[in-house]
């Protein structure tokens, strides 16, 4: 097991290294001088030169790359050009919105999808199954930001149960923020829940066709007991992988959904960074997002191997 974790950790480190090289290279590709790019066309040469020094653009390429990576490793992401505060501080504050949102959505989609998928599998081929599968087809096809807009029209504008956007901040109390995140989380969770329910259904069906299920039935367990004690738990393994993969979609989705609800999260930060040409912010936030995805994949791999010893062997 230790060997497995070590080899996965090595892959993780390599992926991070390559990803950082790619991101660094892309930002370096920008035609001309990043400092001039950030300041726009009408900048004074003096200002550009000052920013160049501030950004540390004077060194050679490898020097600058090492400084960037080294800084990130010690928690120093540089200073945002537009906000004039450390990027780490900005990101920290924004994570307080994006991370709860993504986790909330993940929780919602899991809580909805697993029972629905299990139920559909139990009713395989019957009208209930058809109805659920049809509904999931719709769920997959609905763009989450459009669904978010419809939710706003119904629950914020018509019924006035929720505000149409914004985020009070965690110092204002717990539930008020949960309420502010509820509509965005539902919008984000819907397509994921639809996909997850389909995966759950086929995973359960796969397990139900196994011999040990027949044994369980033969020894006198009824269908409900078999489903809950044997099928559900064994089906969780493939489902766990998909939940891990979905994290990457949740991150991408959160970036868009935050724009619908005017939530001050990482997504808003990254778009402000783009429009204000704050490359330091863009570079660091993208690296952070990629790091999050790679880390989650790593953790899922480990969890998967813990649950299923067959996977610990090298391929």
């Amino acid at each position: 097991m230790l060997r497995f974790i070590l080899s996965r950790a090595l892959t993780l480190a390599l992926s991070l290294l390559v990803a950082s090289l790619v991101i660094f290279a892309v930002i370096e590709v920008i035609p001309g001088d990043p400092a001039a790019f950030m300041l726009g066309l009408n900048a004074e040469p003096d200002t550009v030169a000052a920013l160049r020094t501030e950004l540390g653009l004077d060194g050679s390429l490898p020097e600058r790359y090492l400084r960037w990576v080294g800084g990130m490793l010690t928690g120093d992401f540089g200073i945002s050009y537009t906000y004039q505060v450390p990027v780490a501080e900005l990101v920290g504050a924004r994570l307080g919105v994006s991370l709860p949102l993504a986790l909330f959505a993940l929780l919602l989609s899991t809580v909805i999808a697993l029972p629905v998928g299990l139920f559909a599998a139990a009713r395989q081929g019957r009208p209930t199954d058809w109805a659920i599968m049809g509904a999931t087809q719709f769920g997959i096809a609905i763009p989450n930001f459009w669904f978010a807009m419809i939710l706003v029209v119904i629950f914020a504008i018509q019924l006035r149960w929720f505000s149409a956007g914004g985020f009070p901040g965690w110092d204002q109390g717990f539930w008020i923020n949960i309420k502010a995140l509820l509509l965005p989380a539902i919008a984000l969770a819907l397509p994921q829940a639809a996909i997850l329910a389909r995966v759950m259904r086929s995973a359960v069906l796969e397990v139900l066709s196994q011999d040990f299920i027949r044994t369980a039935r033969a020894k006198g367990l009824n269908q409900r007991q078999t489903l809950i004690h044997h099928a559900f738990r064994n089906a969780l393994i493939p489902v766990l992988t998909i939940i891990g993969l979905q994290f990457s979609f949740l991150i991408a989705g959160a970036i868009i959904i935050e724009n619908v609800f005017f939530l001050p999260g990482l997504g808003r930060l990254i778009f402000q960074g783009i429009t204000q040409r704050d490359l330091i912010v863009v570079e660091s936030v993208v690296m952070l997002l990629v790091f999050a995805v790679i880390l989650v994949t790593f953790l899922v791999d480990i969890a998967y191997a813990l649950a299923d010893p067959r996977l610990r062997r090298p391929e």
Binding site: V153, S248, I255, I294
Partner: protein, 272 residues
């Protein structure tokens, strides 16, 4: 052979949108770029079947032209993904277990770590937003998907006896890949292609919605939704119709994918 219901419904939906997109080249109910402030924000009615937007432009006409953008972006992006991903997958399978195989698969994992939106953000940060950059971003995102599907399918074909016969007959790995492997995994690729096509439509809409995709005056479903957002409380039809167009197209393509899978490979159960 009996066609699955999903395939028929899916084809029906998709044909409607493709025809609407093609028709928009020669005819739309109203001029798309014609501004008519006097007729702004009309509800759906006889003059404008689906109503008008804040500039008095006809929604139906904009949807028809927007279908063009969506379909074009998705088709080219899937083409890029297939064009790069399939050869890589064939190569990895032909050299299974070698460092080349490893390199391709690890490269795949790496690209997977960049969500398509993040790729688009990176590209936009450098080159600025445009439909072309949306295509590149979605295309890059598609590449590892096709490489993985191709490799998986090809590996199972490589174990078959007639491949061994071909090798004994002296055919090179390249010729075997092209003449025997590729035709045998074409089914897989077509099914995956339709699914990626629908994901491409969704991705294009998302990118355009946040302003990273098609730029004005090029009509796009995603941007119509973005424009409608400030007016949604008094003119919800501006948001509803583009959304329904996206849903119907994506649903149609997904149903085609599911139906084709059933039709082409009866052995596997309907599942996803």
């Amino acid at each position: 052979m009996k066609w699955p219901v999903a395939l028929i419904i899916g084809l029906g939906l998709t044909v409607v949108f493709v025809l609407a997109a093609l028709l928009s080249f020669v005819w739309t109910p109203h001029e798309v770029e014609a501004l008519n402030i006097a007729a702004k924000l009309q509800k759906p009615g006889s003059a404008h079947l689906l109503g008008t937007d804040h500039f008095g432009r006809d929604i139906l006409s904009m949807l028809m032209v927007g279908a063009r953008t969506s379909i074009a972006v998705a088709v080219v992006a899937v083409g890029i993904g297939m064009g790069l991903g399939v050869p890589l997958g064939l190569l990895a399978a032909a050299r299974h277990g070698s460092w080349l195989d490893d390199l391709v698969m690890r490269g795949n994992d790496l690209v997977f770590a960049f969500p398509s939106l993040v790729i688009a953000i990176l590209i936009t940060a450098v080159f600025g937003p445009s439909a072309l950059n949306a295509i590149i971003a979605i295309g890059i995102f598609n590449m590892p998907v096709f490489a993985r599907v191709t490799r998986g399918g090809a590996l199972s074909v490589w174990t078959l006896d007639y491949i061994l016969a071909a090798r004994v007959a002296g055919k090179s790995r390249l010729r075997i890949s092209l003449e025997h492997i590729l035709p045998n995994i074409a089914n897989l690729l077509i099914v995956q292609g339709t699914i990626q096509f629908s994901l491409g439509i969704l991705a294009e809409a998302g990118l355009s919605y946040v302003g990273l995709g098609a730029q004005p005056p090029l009509p796009s479903w995603g941007r119509m939704l973005a424009d409608s957002q400030t007016m949604i409380s008094f003119a919800p039809h501006l948001a509803i119709f583009p959304g329904l167009a996206i849903i119907a197209t994506v649903l149609g393509l997904n149903l085609i994918g599911d139906g084709l899978r059933d039709l082409l490979d009866p052995r596997i159960r309907r599942e996803r």
